[in-house]
Subunit: 424 residues, 2 copies
């Protein structure tokens, strides 16, 4: 690639969030879950540093920190951790990574700036990834996001994936795409995003997982995998399978803004399963079957599922007040969404706010389900591709009229991407 060896440049990496399409909670009990990339991005920008300092700017978390590199160097005393050449990120065996991460985490935690809630872990993960990948090179890093924090949309994974990718690209571990000429104006609209080379994308995923470990302790690895590779991912008994689907879904995502306690919700389901093992086992099995059917539908080329030449059927709902042309796949997926939501209510993780949204969208013949832990959090509403933007606006007005916030998003699109430009 034609990045000028001597010239300075700015890199950007954007990583998508994630939603769970199917299988939340039951996955804890050994069944399949299906997660997909959410087309809302966290973007990490790295530009050359000044004054031998490392600067971190996290506007959403209220963090702006500047550390002299000397200060970082003093804390990170083990020489083998200070390889200033980015090549070192591949010079450890995978089995050494956890110890490395634990050591660096301990060291850098004391550097963490105080910021908004959750900011400490974000700063610690940053310093870990920064020192491990860039070493002691001065740089200014800014991470901003379209994703709400703590809403089960994989914001921390998107943070780690975007940051890791930007750091690896800045360190030239990831090959950079063609740069525009120095000083050439690049508007955001015209910005060109490039996929990360297939050989390096695994490296992104592995480092991002280490960052997630710092933030979450014991992450499943689903979130960083979805954010890195994009599209759709199936998870079952610790095994992650990337699905080759090219059928992005159009969804409305509503944030109930009701706080959840994921740990308590998961524990509640576990206790209910102990009290009613046979019935709960059968419900988990039903959720598993739904997840498998979702996988099958997403992997079916749209052509073969079509009825007639137009590629769509008018749903049998057409007697309703809002008739909408839906493909056979959309009709099947809608029904599975309804079924899944009923089962999630059955295992006790729904919430009045979630059910309100389901009822609002049902009036438009649209199907909704909670996504993630439930008990509040976010709700997904499948939008048929033919649904007019006017109709979507009507639904949004209704939902927002009840005090919720919602936005349209593409689900199952690309993973992490990079962009760069020379700086004058």
């Amino acid at each position: 690639m034609a990045v000028t060896e001597s010239g300075e440049f700015r890199v950007e990496a954007r990583a998508p969030g994630k939603v769970i399409l199917s299988g939340e909670h039951a996955v804890v009990h050994g069944t399949s879950a299906v997660a997909a990339a959410l087309g809302l991005y966290t973007t990490a920008t790295i530009r050359p540093g000044m004054d031998d300092s490392c600067v971190l700017d996290l506007p959403q978390l209220g963090v702006y920190s500047k550390w002299p590199l000397k200060m970082i160097e003093e804390l990170i005393t083990q020489p083998h951790l200070l390889n200033p050449k980015p090549a070192h990120v591949t010079s450890y065996s995978e089995s050494e990574w956890p110890q490395l991460a634990a050591f660096v985490e301990r060291q850098v935690r004391s550097l963490s700036a105080k910021g908004a809630k959750g900011a400490d872990a974000a700063v610690t993960a940053f310093l870990f990834l920064y020192t491990s990948i860039l070493g002691l090179q001065p740089a200014t890093v800014r991470v901003s996001s379209e994703l709400p924090v703590g809403a089960g949309l994989g914001s921390s994974a998107a943070y780690c994936v975007a940051l890791t990718t930007a750091l690896l690209a800045y360190s030239r571990e990831i090959e950079l795409p063609q740069l525009p000429s120095v000083g050439e104006e690049v508007s955001t609209d015209r910005k060109i995003w490039f996929d990360v080379d297939e050989k390096k994308v695994d490296l992104v995923n592995k480092w991002a997982f280490e960052g997630e470990r710092i933030i979450h302790g014991r992450p499943s690895g689903i979130d960083n995998t979805v954010s890195t590779y994009g599209y759709v991912v199936k998870f079952k008994k610790g095994q992650i399978t990337r699905l080759h689907t090219q059928m992005p879904l159009r969804m409305l995502l509503t944030n109930t803004q009701v706080g959840r306690n994921t740990k308590a919700l998961v524990a509640g389901v576990g206790e209910r399963a102990l009290r009613h093992p046979a019935a709960m086992g059968a419900i988990f099995k039903a959720i598993d079957e739904i997840a498998e059917e979702v996988v099958t539908i997403l992997q079916t080329p749209p052509e073969t599922a079509r009825l007639g030449k137009s590629g769509e059927v008018v749903s049998s709902d057409e007697c309703g007040p809002h008739p909408v042309a839906k493909t056979v796949q959309e009709i099947r997926l809608q029904e599975l969404v309804d079924m899944n939501q009923g089962l999630l209510q059955g295992i006790g993780v729904s919430h009045l706010s979630i059910e309100s949204i389901c009822q609002i969208t049902a009036a438009y013949r649209l199907s909704s389900k909670l996504t993630g832990a439930g008990g509040g959090g976010c709700v997904l509403t499948l939008l048929p591709h033919k649904l007019s933007s006017t109709s979507v606006e009507l639904v949004k007005v209704d939902i927002e009229g009840k005090g919720f916030s919602c936005f349209e998003a593409v689900i199952g699109g690309n993973g992490v991407q990079v962009s760069c430009q020379a700086v004058s």
Copy 2:
């Protein structure tokens, strides 16, 4: 018993309605359902007739008909159907009954009076049971009911059971309990109801089933069985099992007053099962497991389920605004009710009105589910025995404030009972 052989008397029979506690819809696909007697009664009263006539008075259906017995005799030409002695009700083998019923039905249908919707079938069933059991004896029959018609509460079965029992008692096929003296005032409050003798109760159930056949075509036999024997009945693959439970449940029954199309709802579930056989199969299995667990709980003596000396525990819900002492059995049943409702939503038979009621009662830490076909109809809310009547009133006010009608009822109580008194 001391009924004066020569004296005239009036008999009354009251038969309870039924609710499905668990297993509706899934039962069509081969799983278990649990039904229980609902402590709302249909009462049939027979008093001596005048003018060689048969009089039928059905105030709820707007029917008042008087037929000269001659007219009935002319229509029913086959002599063996006109045995004036009631003993004939046991003189046919069971295999002959369906043909007998079909013949009489054809004959008496032309006699049916025009009345409110559904009244035709009620009149036809009456004439069938009347002529088969009493023959051509003059009598005046009045049937009134506390049960709403067409709400899935077994009103037609209660009608057939009460009528059959009153006819069999009036014909002395069922032994009559001690009569008060002629002219003695018997207030409704002091009226004493007697269970039907165990040897004759099967006869009631069989004739009532024939009446149900006239009204419904192909009834399952659950409704008349519950109304006849009372308590709780399990139904699986055509097999009806009476359960020996003495644990009546206290429930709030809400009529959504939303009309249902049972046939369409059952067909909809069947079609969904064809589209998603694995997932729907697992949901049916879950419903089956819930029904079996409900059976186990209802058969467990309350003592063994108790925690501590007081026989109750304060539910873990006590942090809520309406803490209530619940027994361990009540807590388990509540959870099963919640799970069952979620599964019914999952198979697509819930309705906005049903979910509204579930949400209202959930605010009081009470669990509700639809009962019967769904899509509207009735909703059951389990009331812990220790819940104060003031709290029940609050819930009722909230439910009625949304435009629904509701009433408290005992579920799982007695079956059909008779009472009689001499008339002067």
